[in-house]
Amino acid sequence: MLTKLTVHNFRSIEKCDVELGPITVLFGPTSSGKSSLFYSLLVLRNFILNPTQPLDGLFNLGFQNLGGFQECIFNHDVRETLGITVHIEDRLSYGVDFRKDDAEIFENCGSIHLQARVPLPYSGSQYFAFTHTEGGDFAVNWNGFASAVNSKSFYKDDQARAVRIAEDLNSVTEAIKHVDVCPHRRGFFKPSYSPVPLTPTATSEDEVATLIINDRNVPPHISINTVEIFDRDFRIFTPPGTATTYLQTTEQKGARVPGYLVNDGFGVNQVVYMLAKIHRPETESILIEEPEVHLHPTMIRRFARVLTRLATEEKKQLIFTTHSEQFLLSLLACVKEGLLQPEQLVCYHVTREKKRTLFSHAPVSRDGQISGGLSSFMEGELQDIKTFLSVTS
């Protein structure tokens, strides 16, 4: 699980250190910079997956093209460094400082510190040699993404330790590769789909339908959750002899009358999309923008409870942005009920001051209370009710 994200000079984020939990919620006004934190992680993932692309290409997230380095660096100052670092617990971290023409890659694993400056685009074929002498004598060869560790001794224990060090060193970039995203633009707009090749960030409806079609375990997992949330089955149907698969829901679980998902409410539709991405076996951490959209408050509550279970029982790390106090209240209620430990729900109030995004940690208590409350959601309603009641102060 990713435990911290450190970012500097990315879009409106001049500098931030954001702790991540099994469930992390970023809430705050529109345009405060919540999504920028998501996008920073995806830029780093882009670099790891495809460092050979030009620097500007890293800012094309697939579902959204943010422009290039100049558009994304804080204050558009291309002389500055744009840094993104991911931490796993206290001992593992991996980060890249991007500059206009090169990048400084660094990785820390306990007492091992790897660092290299590479040109951009980077072929990934350059190897940097390090030695590690704690508990043995080891040679580390690192290309900025992956490490090979060899023991200089032939003892079995030393060889095994070399394997463990390599696993540790490679675990951070592997974790970053397994980050997925559910952007705002999501859902299914056709009754049927045929499998398509998947891009590294599979977000189009055809790609997500392919994830559902190609993994026989995903549809039943989705169905279990849609029954819990909407009392509706989800199923797929492929007519024999065809490569076309229909996405279907039943109108009511008991009715057993299937209809096309595209004809169901859009709330159901986009929840199926999110669940498909969450249940993807490769997904370890997933960034979900506004999970509450198109959902009635009752369904938001049920969805929050399903998400809580997916985080705690299936160990999916869920990171949300939200504009819904209902969604956050539902998660807080899960804490109060003991379904979620307070430390498992990490909340940040995100604001923007003088063009800078600020992330303020809002600790959650065992009683399901949150420091600072949810007043940021109520500012509009407060102004309106004061007008209605003629409150002037």
């Binding site: 106090e325 209240l329 807080l332 600790p363 208590s365 009683d367 399901g368 209370q369 949150i370 420091s371 600072g372 409350g373 949810l374 007043s375 959601f377 109520m378 309603e381 407060l382 309106d384 009710i385 004061k386 209605f388 009641l389 003629s390 409150v391 102060s393």
Partner: protein, 148 residues
């Protein structure tokens, strides 16, 4: 920073049953508390808590919005609301328990659980009993005048 125990007048005023002016003042109190350094002590499931929750179901949109503001800015705010479990709230000495109505015991238990807490009430006999016992108490009007 002060800590208050507020009895059910805040819910009644919020509901509008005590008139438009009282409802306006209830909103001012809720907003003022939310923006202040003060805290309130609430026993979970107490009559005060239950009445606040019940207002969520009001058919009057103004009432629903006021109580929503209370819930989101104070009740779930660990900086503004100290939640106590009824079983863990301080017990009342027999003489004090005998001097006030049983329905009001929860207020005094909340207050005695937080020694600096000030009871804010519209109930004059309750107020007299609390003051007689050396505990701090303000009337609604004193509370409004002093803090808002």
């Amino acid at each position: 920073m002060a800590i208050f125990v507020i009895n059910e007048w805040l819910s009644h005023d919020s509901s509008g049953e005590n008139g438009a002016e009282a409802q306006r003042q209830a909103l001012v109190v809720i907003q003022g508390l939310a923006n202040s350094d003060h805290q309130i002590v609430v026993i979970e499931g107490s009559p005060f808590d239950q009445k606040s929750m019940a207002l969520c179901k009001s058919s009057d949109i103004s009432v629903v919005v006021i109580v929503k503001i209370y819930m989101t800015t104070i009740r779930v705010n660990s900086d503004r609301c100290v939640l106590l479990k009824a079983a863990k709230a301080a017990e009342l000495p027999e003489d004090l328990a005998g001097a006030v109505k049983p329905d009001d015991h929860y207020l005094l238990r909340a207050q005695r659980s937080w020694p600096e807490a000030v009871l804010v009430t519209t109930d004059q006999p309750l107020r007299e009993a609390v003051l007689r016992y050396g505990m701090k108490c303000l009337s609604r009007e004193e509370f409004l005048a002093r803090y808002f």
